[in-house]
């Protein structure tokens, strides 16, 4: 992100614009204070003591009849200068030390951080007192003390960011490229930790203002008669019995300014987080399809040829029937459809694979079926998900809850993070048993042990008391499976359950899943990117591309005779372990983004057999007579004329 675009985005939102305006006003007051104060801030007027707000004195007068507004304006420069001093010292000391110890590591780091942590854990104010005691009262000394203390914040922050950035492979790559250490620090580390540092500067300004006000309030900072917000409060407290109004103007000035710095810091964090890599806003790359702003997409225009579709789907009595599923996700350019018009069936006892590359929408679809979509991701359009005849779309969380776990379970990619780290395995396993099967504690424990032994965990009774971190990845996935199977569901949704595992472990887990499904007649919806896994376990495959199902069919048929150009290319691109291959088939270009609403086929830019017609209108869903094959292509045979010849094979 360029500096200008950061500032533009910062003030686009009121939470950035308001504090920025307030601080600009303060800087103006600090610079031009002498010209704009209506009165001399230190001039007493004994005829106008303790006046409330009036036309003559908008914020009233104090115990010496001095104009409060003038004193407030006069104090601005002291407050801001104090901030600049302290934060400047903090940065100048903290960043180089933090960079050095973070990058050097080892004993340097350990000793430095011990000292920093030790000082940091003590109350800052009391340390500031100690330093002021040595140097003597006065604002410059006080700010030196505060600056020194704040350098600790910057050391910690810089060092922490360096430590997390240092392990990034691009730092390793920099060393491989021969960049000397100084250059690595300056050009590789520093720019990448600038964001957090700027945020910290803003927040530190706020904290310095509070401390400066506190020290001045106690009489250790700015000395009278000079006005600062802190000394004004000090005087206000002494004269409170005369005037309840006096504490308000300086108090509000401090609060608003601190609030402004904090809010600006927060807003800055949001802006930088919108684009963590701090790169320029994504310009549509010329070689790819142009990104268009998302308009509301009418599902009907994605063209389901009614007849062909009905032929396969109308009389379905499948366990799970997904129809016209549209899922909307938020993107930088507004909401976009990440899943478009997805329809498929899972019959009782079937293993159906939802297969696709990243960005195909397979995981979103699976999560949607279980009703576990993240915040801000919504099912839209005329979507329907029928499970055992019940419509899940639009059901309340309470209604879904009686289905989840009991009739429909789910397992996930990373077993370790999918188990609650602070609860025992036994507890997590007993939960569904007690709530869905109504077991009591003892029954649940016995049954849990049995479930664990069924998924091949040795010594199950003793392992019930263990926590997830005491299991290996493969074992943890077995535990997840036993939890999912606990209430004997009719459908298991498995979202890339073996992707994080080694191949030998993967094989065992797949065996376990296949065995479980065959023993109990449980159906499985298996989400994977691995065509090998699909071939190993699935009965039917739904191949997804850019949010759409582009080919659906029985696995043997689909692999032997893929009809969609994408399926064909995908199968050709997989390296094989059991055969020697020539060149792998490649698919040029890049997956269409969810916000790309071009009228034609979503694969057209990458397709090797596309014709002009492909980019004009969405391809129809064609049903082929053989074994429930459905293809979203006008040319399912790859014949060059592009006519929808449908033949049985």
């Amino acid at each position: 992100m360029t500096r200008r675009s950061v500032i533009r985005r910062l003030v686009r939102h009121p939470s950035g614009l308001i504090p920025a305006s307030w601080l600009t006003l303060l800087v103006f007051a600090a610079v031009f204070g002498d010209w704009i104060t209506p009165y001399d801030p230190n001039e007493a007027d004994f005829l106008a003591l303790f006046e409330g707000p009036s036309f003559r004195h908008p914020f009233g007068t104090d115990e010496l009849g001095r104009d409060t507004l003038s004193r407030l304006i006069d104090a601005t420069s002291v407050a801001l200068l104090a901030g600049v001093q302290a934060v400047g010292i903090g940065l100048a000391l903290g960043v180089p030390i933090g960079l050095a110890v973070g990058y050097l590591g080892g004993w340097w780091d350990r000793i430095a951080m011990r000292i920093v942590d030790a000082i940091f854990s003590l109350p800052g104010l009391i340390l500031a007192f100690a330093i002021v005691a040595v140097l003597g009262p006065g604002i410059t000394n006080a700010m030196f003390a505060v600056g020194f203390l704040f350098s600790l914040r910057f050391i910690r922050l810089t060092r922490g960011s360096v430590l997390s950035t240092r392990e990034e492979p691009f730092i390793e790559a920099a060393r491989l490229s021969g960049a000397p250490t100084i250059r690595v620090l300056r050009s590789y580390l520093l720019p990448n930790i600038a964001g957090p540092l700027i945020i910290q500067v803003s927040i530190s300004f706020a904290a310095v203002l509070l401390i400066e006000a506190g020290l001045s309030f106690l009489g250790l900072g700015v000395q009278p008669p000079n006005a600062t917000w802190g000394t004004m409060l000090r005087e206000a407290r002494l004269n409170q019995s005369q005037s309840g109004w006096l504490p308000w103007p300086p108090g509000l000035a401090i609060t608003l300014t601190v609030l402004a710095f904090n809010t600006l810091g927060d807003r800055l964090r949001d802006v930088l987080a919108e684009d963590p890599a701090s790169s320029p806003p994504v310009v549509p790359p010329a070689e790819f399809a142009p990104v268009r702003p998302a308009a509301s997409v009418d599902s009907d225009t994605t063209g389901v040829s009614g007849e062909a579709f009905e032929a396969v789907y109308s009389l379905s009595d499948a366990l799970l029937q997904v129809r016209h599923l549209d899922i909307e996700v938020p993107t930088a350019v507004g909401p976009a459809l990440a899943v478009r018009d997805l329809s498929f069936d899972v019959s009782a006892g079937d293993v159906v694979a939802l297969v696709g590359e990243s960005g195909s929408g397979k995981t979103l679809s699976a999560t949607a079926i279980a009703g576990l979509l993240p915040r801000q991701v919504n099912i839209v359009g005329r979507s329907s998900i029928l499970f055992k005849g019940d419509e899940l779309v639009g059901s309340t969380d309470d209604e879904l809850r009686s289905i989840r776990g009991a009739h429909l379970s789910m397992i996930f990619q990373d077993p370790m993070s999918s188990l609650n780290p602070s609860l025992t395995i036994g507890y997590q396993l007993a939960e569904p048993l007690r709530s869905h099967l109504g077991m009591n504690k003892a029954q649940a424990r016995d049954h849990a042990a049995e479930l664990l032994s069924r998924v091949g965990i040795p010594n199950p009774r003793n392992r019930l008391a263990d926590y997830p971190h005491q299991f290996s990845g493969g074992m943890a996935q077995r535990v997840m499976i036993s939890i999912a199977l606990a209430a004997e569901p009719d459908l298991l949704i498995a979202d890339e359950p073996t992707t994080a595992l080694d191949v030998t472990t993967q094989k065992q887990v797949l065996e376990l899943l296949v065995q479980a499904s065959e023993e109990s007649g449980m159906a499985m919806l298996f989400i994977t990117h691995d065509l090998g896994v699909v071939a190993e376990i699935a009965d039917r495959a739904v191949v997804m591309y850019a949010g759409q199902a582009i080919e659906t069919g029985e696995v043997f048929e689909t692999f032997a005779n893929p009809r969609h150009p994408y399926t064909r290319a995908l199968l050709g691109s997989v390296p094989l372990v059991d055969k020697a291959q020539k060149k792998l088939v490649t698919i040029p270009g890049r997956v269409a983004s969810p916000s790309d609403n071009s009228p034609g086929c979503r694969f057209v830019d990458r397709c090797s057999v596309s014709v002009a017609r492909c980019s004009e209108a969405p391809p129809p869903l064609l049903s082929l007579p053989s074994a429930g094959r459905i293809v979203r292509c006008i040319n399912p045979n790859g014949s060059p004329d592009g006519s929808p010849t449908v033949s049985s094979s």
Binding site: E536, D539, F559, L570, P575, I587
Partner: protein
């Protein structure tokens, strides 16, 4: 503690290698890496990440190092890159002991590409600056026009358009970013590139592009690869020779067609057995739903 069994055939393999090692590009001789865990107060037993590994890579050869997580393959790769000092044994490049090489010469000879494509590129630099870094530091290039020209050549070699020189890594796709990394690694004309899981984070279609690219580059430039991966299929496709690692030890070593075709070691056999094959007609886990319900276990 895990005690490696030193089988006699590996001694003989080492002896065999020793006779040819003078011509080899990379010679990893009997390398062992041990880690000490914990601080001095609570010292835990030594972990042997690599034990007595010997490999030899010839000029223009693609050598695959295969193993599951914890097999020590990445640690061995780090040794070759000079990022990890072997506890025992030596590594030499073109007959010169690694520790005797000057840093700059070593970097210009051995380069690397890592797993995570986007994270391997400095988000604060443009593609052009990233590629220019080794040109300036390792090739001593100073002229801007010359650097730009060479960068464009390198991009062309990895089949990227030269207009992406001004782009930031965040706006690249995974496949493009990985090609930029490859271009960066190719810049100093290295003799060996260590590819540590360089294609495993990519989608199948993109992976195929990068694998083809790597194969072409080797044919064109004669660079050697040490290809570290968990995926046997990818290794078979790209490499001439394979070493299979398990718990720090090289358990089997040889021509990749032979190893994938008729593995000798039990572990290699198990590994090959476990790789899912994208062909339902040879599937082992689930039989056709309608015909059989029996399971092989």
């Amino acid at each position: 503690m895990y005690q490696p069994q030193r089988e006699s055939r590996w001694e003989s393999y080492r002896e065999l290698v020793l006779t040819t090692a003078s011509e080899a590009l990379l010679f990893v001789d009997d390398v062992t890496v041990e880690f000490h865990r914990g601080h001095f107060a609570r010292r835990r037993p030594v972990v042997r990440a690599v034990s007595a590994a010997t490999i030899e890579i010839g000029k223009g050869q693609a050598f695959g190092l295969v193993g599951e997580s914890g097999s020590g393959k990445t640690t061995l790769g780090r040794c070759v890159l000079g990022q990890q000092k072997p506890t025992h044994g030596s590594i030499s490049i073109s007959g010169k002991e690694l520790s005797t090489l000057k840093a700059r010469d070593f970097r210009a000879t051995v380069q690397a590409v890592f797993q995570n494509p986007i994270a391997s590129l400095n988000p604060a630099m443009s593609v052009g600056e990233i590629i220019a870094e080794p040109l300036r530091r390792l090739n001593g290039m100073k002229d801007r026009v010359e650097m730009r020209q060479r960068s464009e050549e390198l991009l062309d070699q990895v089949q990227l358009p030269s207009r992406i020189l001004d782009r930031r890594p965040a706006s690249l796709s995974g496949g493009m970013a990985q090609r930029v990394s490859i271009a960066r690694a190719l810049a100093p004309h290295p003799s060996l590139i260590v590819l540590d899981e360089a294609v495993s984070a990519l989608d199948v279609a993109t992976q195929a592009q990068v694998i083809n690219l790597l194969a072409d580059l080797r044919d064109d430039t004669g660079v050697s690869y040490l290809f570290i991966a968990h995926d046997l299929a990818v290794v078979r496709h790209l490499c001439d020779e394979v070493a299979v690692m398990k718990l720090g030890e090289i358990v089997e070593h040889g021509n990749s067609e032979t190893i994938c075709g008729s593995p000798k070691h039990r572990y290699t056999q198990a590994l090959l057995q476990a790789v899912p094959v994208p062909d339902p007609t040879v599937r082992r886990l689930r039989h056709r739903h309608t015909t059989s319900t029996a399971v092989e276990t």
